[in-house]
Amino acid sequence: MDIDAISSVVLAILAGAIRVGTPFLFVSLGECLTEKAGRINLGLEGVLVISAMSSFGVSYLSGSAWAGVLAGAGSGALLALLHGLASSLRRVNDIAMGVAIMMLGIGLAFYLGKPLIQPQAPTLGSWSLGFWSDSPQLRSALEINALFPLGVALAFLMSWAFANTRWGLLVRMVGDSSDAARALGTSVTLVRTLATTAGGAIAGLGGASLSLYYPGSWNEGLSSGQGLIAVALVIFARWRPVACLGAALLFGGAGALGPALQSVGITGYYYLFNAVPYALTLLILVLTCSPHRVLRGAPAELGVGR
């Protein structure tokens, strides 16, 4: 492999980190908000798929990609609201409910999205941040999805809000000690349901970026488990929104590795490279977890930090 091939692979990975990482960013921020309030939503996979379908559908019908983005956030919020409400009931297991919501969301999206597989919908534009460069590869690497800056801003906003706003503190209190929250007269159920719903809306933006930017179409193989991986990403990021940004970029880059190598003629390991992010997460969990202490940064009411 010569130097040109290496540089093109590196550029492709950088570009892929942002392109593939954008949905990861939104689902992990959504999951982060949900988990901060003390619940796990595995249903974000369903949220991602149904929001990808509905944003594509609305974009196709209305002709406006941004209307599609709104629809994605809205449908994601609705499905997550169902998870939030159902998990608020006594004895309802939030992990199992997450799997249920995942199946329901994927089923609904495939059912309703059947007529949307063929058509082309208006997609989101991109920002060309590589105008200063002569290299066409660098230019294409710096074509930034218009949703990505929004995600970056959201990550910093959430980080600030968790530390400084009344709502941020409420969410964290509910996630760390429901007893304390009840003692202060806060409704744990209400805060958790709202956090889950808002998390679904954020994850819905990730679905919109899947169907309206990259790959930019709707089909049944659109999501490859990004919504489920969000749970692992958030643990990896230690429940810090800004770290979610880094984790999403890392996973996006890892996800772009297979296609990037394929483009320079290294084929045959495509699926193994796809497995890398999952194996990596597991490895990180094995290295950082211990049966004798809880994970640093884990909301105390959450089951996973055990």
Binding site: A100, A232, L285, G303
Partner: protein, 360 residues
């Protein structure tokens, strides 16, 4: 609460949830302009209407019984393992790839060997999640999920790469199993022996849990790990053993899918059977015997799906929507447990002037 009430609820709640899901599904398709009555009729006919449908239903129920055990057995030991899909795939892979390494003898002995390899692979896969949880403190739900995704990609890599049969052009597959290793049908029926394995495994699991000391110890660990530690039970060993047994069941399901249905490992094996198994297990409240009828019911829905598609032109995802409704409602129904006692029922039928005291 007495045991009659408990049994009554265990039966009534899932039943109500399934009826509710059917009603919701009827409304859902009615919104799209289909005749809900016709859809319900076809669901029933497609699942249990004639001998052909019934055999189809049983065929689809068989792997669900085994993958449900992969959720149920670790659950009785206190773990939430949702990686049955991964165990099924490594089981299928083991079954299809053993002949590449070593040619087992032909006939039933070879089949037994292949199935043993499948079960062992599945057992190791889920035992890893159990081991990581017990000794490294890694949450088993997350790790088993991650392992599933690793399994899917390794499966695709091997099937489309090193293990690919060069003559499988359109659909990459491994080499087909020798005819003598294939799992045949039961008598003259169109149902393969996998059903017997599924039912047998559920019955055996039930006997293990309720009639043996080892099973009892496992349930104690699942009920209260601290108490189990105080009476000196080897919690780590018991939990990992439960994971092994669950994983072996799911791995066996994968092996049977190869030996009885597909003949070779290919993408058709990745059909979400592991995830549906989670649903079956929750609906059965992780009770092995209850898994059998629920797997048959859900297998029936899956079998009826193709009928809905053929007769009414409903999208093939409609069954997934129905299963989604069923799952959400079954889990939600858990909240009503303990509120559907005989007393409450009587209070409904004959309203009395007594105030409902003590409700907070």
């Amino acid at each position: 609460m007495n045991s009659i009430t408990e049994a009554w609820e265990a039966l009534l709640l899932p039943l109500l949830a399934i009826v509710g899901a059917l009603i919701l599904f009827g409304l859902f398709v009615a919104l799209a302009g289909y005749n809900a009555l016709e859809v319900w009729m076809l669901l029933f006919m497609g699942a249990f209407g004639d001998a052909f449908s019934l055999q189809n239903t049983l065929l689809r129920a068989a792997p669900l019984m085994l993958t449900a055990l992969c959720m149920a057995l670790p659950a009785r030991a206190g773990l939430t393992v949702i990686g049955g899909e991964g165990a099924l795939l490594v089981g299928a892979l083991a079954c299809a790839s053993v002949p590449y390494l070593w040619q087992p003898p032909s006939g039933w002995f070879g089949l037994a060997f292949l199935l043993a390899a499948s079960a062992a692979a599945g057992a190791a896969w889920i035992a890893l999640a159990g081991y990581l949880r017990q000794y490294r403190g890694v949450n088993e739900t997350i790790s088993s999920l991650l392992l599933s995704y690793v399994a899917v990609n390794v499966f695709k890599h091997l099937v489309e790469g090193p293990l690919r049969d060069p003559s499988s052009l359109n659909k990459p597959s491994t080499l087909a199993l020798d005819d003598s290793w294939l799992m045949g049908s039961i008598g003259t029926y169109d149902v393969h022996w996998g059903l017997v394995w599924g039912i047998g495994a559920c019955v055996a699991a039930s006997i293990w849990l309720s009639r043996t000391t080892h099973g009892f110890a496992t349930r104690v660990v699942g009920g209260n790990a601290k108490a189990a530690g105080l009476v000196g039970l080897p919690a780590h060993k018991l939990v990992i053993m439960a994971c092994c047994l669950g994983g072996a069941a799911a791995g066996l399901a994968g092996g049977i899918e190869i030996a009885a249905v597909h003949r070779a490992a290919n993408a058709s094996v990745i059909a979400g059977l592991g995830y549906t198994g989670i649903l079956v297990s929750f609906a059965a409240r992780h009770h092995p015997l209850a898994i059998i009828p629920i797997a048959i019911l859900l297998g029936g829905f899956a079998a009826a799906g193709s009928m809905l598609q053929r007769r009414l032109g409903l999208p093939d995802a409609s069954v997934q929507v129905l299963l989604g409704f069923v799952f959400v409602l079954i889990l939600t129904a858990e909240a009503a447990r303990g509120r559907l006692g005989w007393q409450d029922m009587r209070a409904w039928w004959s309203p009395s002037a007594q105030p409902l005291a003590g409700r907070a």
